[in-house]
Symmetry: D3
Subunit: 144 residues, 6 copies
């Protein structure tokens, strides 16, 4: 198996808060991440795709195309924004790193449908040097 | 000259906005950093002190003491906060990296007064891998 | 599949030496790592857990809980210690990066038993920028 | 499963160009990477091997042996060279990161044949902080 | 004194070779860096400017402006190029890291003339993690 | 002014302990760093030299020569050693990062005497990502 990975970065604020729960329960679950005015991160996102390797090009996929997709569906909507208030895909989704990985997977996967023989393999959301989330898609049984 | 440097990190949201200016002028000056709901960073702060080197200890200053100061006056007030709304030292100061360096210098310098023979030398505010600010104090002529 | 990873760091000395072997054989097997007085590293340990993602929290596991476990069973016993002489779990185990990964797995896995639906997935022991060890548990067939 | 990973680095120039294609098509496929005089990178290569863990040594494989192999078949032929013009293994292979991963896999795998119970598991070619390629060998079905 | 620093990166090939010297002398002086077909690096350039801090903006200089300058005079001419063959400023200058720092200083300094009260302070050329060059301008006596 | 910097790394154990002081006072001054069996680090040392820039070579100093000096007087004596017990230069010197910077300065400065027009400018001892020491020599007045 051969994969290529592209990394992008963006700066954003977020707040972990479930509006269906009481303030006390939010505080208990999310701790300092529940701060009313939010906090923020320099996020790094690594997106990995796998596919066949055409002898003609020696590339699984044009990195520029992959980069353009990540700019369009991740960087542009999220950079220098507050994820909870400014970003459509988190309108009704709590922007934990886990949920971010899932939403970014969905957005990138949509764009990759037009690329024959290329499959999304992994989305990594790096919130800080000390923690990151990996997501390999809705049905791991599909991943060879 | 011999110096020791300690690095701490915190995650915070901020917004660059001068309330004395019009919205249009704020937008022109600060661009994407003026986003109403703010954005955020994993900040890293490096604080450097210089001093004599006592033969008895071989240490300019106890790193644990320096770390305790940085925790008290930088990390604890700022971590997982919105600098504009939650942090006293930025109540009437725009939290640009430059102003953060100056306010952190003042706060650390106050604490260092009780340490004989140790002088604050440099505060570096690292906002992202691509930009940082250095501040060497209000009167550079004092710096030997 | 979705996983979260937490990283901790500690500073420790160690020596690679098998007391059941001759000095000559130890020297041949471990080379410079067999130095009698030991050497040391800034170790970084990355621990990955996988699990279901509750809609209510959007978190596989509370990162603070995971961090507390790693502090308790990895950082506190090992930081600023000599692994061979000061740390119970290496009393009769040669502290190679491989064995460290296995012992840390066992220690973290014990603590995770009380967390329903969360499973230890990977322990990475990073000895230096140039080498690390990955361990995925005693029976890879269990890992889905 | 337990694996060890060794990282090496080298500096090299390369050009992405398929001599069987027209200049226009090369430009379209490879963009700026097709620059006639080439460009270059500080490459980092991470090679991962898996194997049983002998109780006697606590090491999957002697890291010094693995390092010697990587020096011999990767670093020495490629460092401070132009991959297209100076390196035998890329004489008729376009030095994309994907092809580099495959050629390095083949070269390391040859050397590992003499090590009983040790298997090549992953070759990662890191071209820059923003992109890397992973290769797990010609028949992923073999990888347990 | 207060400074801000902006970092950019580019990938390029280069060759250390003085056409006024014999091949033997070039080989003796530059060693592996004299390889005829060149080699390459992921270069990182850090450019530091100092200046007064206007109370109105809290910024020594608009980072976007500084970034635009670095894109224009450093990144655009050098990225994915062979410094010796493709870049005008190295037409008759050997592209050692030292000479690169001087040429980049001159190019950035020209652009900064239109910014009142802002002075170029330092250009750092990082060739690899293991070596970099700092240049503080043609007359260090000017630097306060 | 123009400088070049070379970085080397080594792994070592050390213990902070002044034999002229009581155990209680050592514990009070050095805390966890006083652990009887020592602890350790992946040390990184950055050595900066300044000098004139010969038009003929475009290099302040041959980086290979500088690297050879650092290997000889820093890496070889210290790597995979216990600084207190195995390294001559710390026989009667407590191996704090400050004292290490001074001893490395002296050792490198001795070697540089044979290089006309090249002066040692800075020695940085990086003990971990969170702390480092800078030393600019015994008489800062000499440093222009």
């Amino acid at each position: 198996m051969i994969t290529i990975t592209r990394r992008i970065e963006f700066c954003a604020a977020h707040r972990l808060h479930n509006p269906d729960l009481s303030d006390a329960e939010n505080k208990r679950i999310y701790g300092v991440c529940n701060n009313k005015n939010g906090h923020g991160h320099n996020y790094a996102i690594e997106v990995t795709v796998r596919g066949a390797l055409p002898r003609k090009t020696g590339m699984v996929m044009d990195l520029k195309d992959l980069n353009d997709i990540l700019q369009k569906v991740i960087h542009n909507p999220c950079d220098h924004k507050h994820l909870n208030h400014d970003v459509a895909m988190f309108e009704s989704v709590i922007p934990t790193a886990e949920n971010m990985a899932i939403k970014f997977w969905e957005a990138v996967d949509d764009e990759l449908q037009q690329y024959h023989g290329v499959h999304l393999h992994l989305v990594r959301v790096i919130e800080s040097r000390n923690n990151f989330v990996d997501y390999t898609g809705p049905d791991p049984g599909d991943i060879v």
